[in-house]
Symmetry: C2
DNA sequence: GCATCTATGTGTATAATGCACATATATAGC
DNA sequence: GCTATATATGTGCATTATACACATAGATGC
């Protein structure tokens, strides 16, 4: 197809209606990082992690997605799991972080810094000024 | 499959060798946002944007990916394009941002703030302290 | 003609994620 | 015993974003 062909066709679909909801997504594997962070604090299980993850941008996280990610993480050696049947309800698969998991988390935390710098750059170029700082202990 | 079955199998694959390279990815649609930001400054074309995007985390961006994203953005009405044949080499498809594109960019910039707060939270929980601030014009 | 640089594009695969649905245990009410 | 509900885990299937290899095409120099 030549450019003249395209010029003639002039098909601007417009039906695609842009991205429906704007930027929803956190970085790739963000959920993995968040889960590892939680598990480093305290061993836990899916249903519980579902709530804890909400604070990190997963307010409406689908349970199936969470469970699948946890299993994948285990396959990759980032976490271990075992059943807890001591409770009253259904058994819980309790996860704990491995050394590989801690290493991965460390890697993540490291690149978070680069991440932040890149986004600052974006923000400055967009607004022409520095983005608001978190009002916590400045300096 | 009961939990006892799994307990017996005890298959920790380990072959999956964790995520090969750690966290590489910027947020979803980050490239779109970066391209819109560039196009807001100055109309441009793919081959040129390829270099400009490098500063925003796309150092080794595959050209094919870029061109495809640009076309998709046009389908969605975020940008317009036209051919520039005035130069010497092959024709360039020059893009310009639309109002929808500016609106989308604004939306993005807005949620960038939420992004930053979430990542700060992650960082604090990881390190137990506030992340380093950019040393630019403080307030 | 052939190589090379510029410039744009397609085919195909994979990874991450979302949504709908399925399963299983326990408890409470009828 | 039957049914509904809350807890808890999981699978099937589709979509989206992206990566990688490859294809196309104009212009220039040999």
């Amino acid at each position: 197809m030549t450019r003249d062909d395209e010029e003639r066709q002039g098909k601007r679909d417009e039906s695609a209606s842009a991205r429906d909801d704007g930027p929803t997504g956190m970085p790739k594997n963000w959920l993995t990082a968040v889960l590892l962070l939680q598990l480093r604090e305290l061993n836990s299980y899916g249903y519980d992690l579902l709530e804890k993850a909400a604070a990190f941008g997963f307010a409406a996280l689908n349970p199936g997605t969470l469970y699948r990610v946890l299993r994948q993480m285990e396959k990759e050696g980032l976490v271990n799991s075992g059943w807890d049947t001591s409770g009253q309800g259904p058994a819980r698969r309790v996860y704990s972080i491995t050394e590989a998991g801690e290493a991965y988390l460390k890697l993540w935390a490291g690149s978070l810094d680069q991440y932040r710098r890149t986004m600052d750059m974006f923000f400055r170029m967009y607004t022409g000024r520095s983005p608001d700082k978190p009002k916590s202990s400045d300096k």
